[in-house]
Symmetry: C2
Subunit: 223 residues, 2 copies
């Protein structure tokens, strides 16, 4: 995909094409890299997405809007959008990054997408940036479910059980292995009344519980 096609897919034509090139230049490639544009882009994406959410969900509270925005402007979502728009094909990376899979790395992709947004902001102003954000995030915005988006698995599972007046799950640590500074927790989540037991592991009790809760939640949704 050429740089022109990429720009066209955003629905924006740059006055200053060099700004777009800089936005796609990783610091491993040289001094004229995209990190300052990424700083700017992060803030303009946050602002444009905040405005979209504010208008789309007039009944949500500030806390709910914040949760939805955090989910939309997270590295996984940004990297997925960057992939869908094939940003990797026009990235400029240093030799080392190129060889070690840089063009597919989520952090590099997400940062470059933010930098592109920063470049549009500088090149065409806020309304241009908001319009590109509207394009980029349209499918992520359409997929939002305020009841679930951005909630962790333990919360989702708990809310599901409460809504059906079922007792809450019980989490218990089965084993803890490894040295003090790199312990591995093995946890069980039990919902006795539904006959569900799931397990999870992680480097903290919290993350192990989340993994177990996710497995239990998927199990619950299937029943």
């Amino acid at each position: 995909m050429s740089l022109e096609d990429f720009s066209r897919s955003l629905g924006y034509v740059f006055r200053d094409r060099d700004l777009l090139i800089r936005a796609l230049t990783h610091r491993s490639h040289g001094a004229a890299h995209n990190e300052r544009l990424e700083f700017l882009g992060d803030s303009v994406v946050n602002c444009a997405v905040a405005l979209e959410l504010y208008c789309k969900f007039p009944d949500l509270t500030e806390g709910e809007l914040s949760r939805l925005r955090a989910s939309l402007v997270s590295q996984p979502t940004l990297a997925a959008i960057a992939k869908a728009y094939r940003i990797g094909e026009n990235l400029k990376l240093g030799e080392g990054e190129l060889k070690s899979g840089g063009p597919q790395r989520p952090s590099i992709l997400a940062d470059a997408l933010e930098a592109v947004m920063g470049a549009v902001f500088i090149d065409g102003g806020f309304d241009a940036a908001a319009s590109v954000a509207h394009t980029l995030f349209s499918s992520a915005l359409a997929d939002i479910d305020p009841a679930t988006t951005g909630k962790d698995a333990k919360t989702l599972l708990q809310e599901y059980l409460q809504s059906r007046k079922l007792p809450l799950p019980r989490y218990s640590v089965l084993t803890v292995s490894g040295e003090a500074h790199e312990q591995l927790f093995h946890v069980e989540c039990e919902i006795a009344q539904l006959n569900i037991r799931s397990q999870g592991e992680g480097t903290s009790r919290r993350s192990a519980e989340q993994q177990a809760a996710r497995a239990a939640y998927e199990c619950v949704l299937r029943t």
Copy 2:
């Protein structure tokens, strides 16, 4: 100060005056409160300030710009600006908040200022909000010193000593008192070569060291 005078001091005239009133209404006052506008305002302030810093400091790195922005958009700075613009005189608060000093509370003032910025954003668009932010933050922006703004006292002290090729300060815990969950640390900071000893206390070793470093830094600047 009347609502009209306040609006005039921002350099902005609202098309929808009710939006401004809502921005100045704390949740303790009733259902039509300012929290959603605050969500929006937080993001537009961040974006407008990011743009100011990006343009004002073309040579700073992303990390330096982030530090400066965090300092400008912190609660203390926002509350100070809100006070300077006498926002408290037009706040709508519930009885309880009014009696307990709500109109002077930094969190309430900072939140209301953000909400006003959100109201300008909705009422007049981004460029209007950026223009108001330019007015509100002009003196804070003028006061910025990239070498010091937003840096903690230990960092400032260390950088000062390094720039003069002096040895680094030595921190030592003098006493720890109190119960396990509310300990009080008493710390000394010593710069032997300058014959400086300062002390600090805090509920964590870190905060006690910062306090001691601040005292030592002030001492160093005076010598």
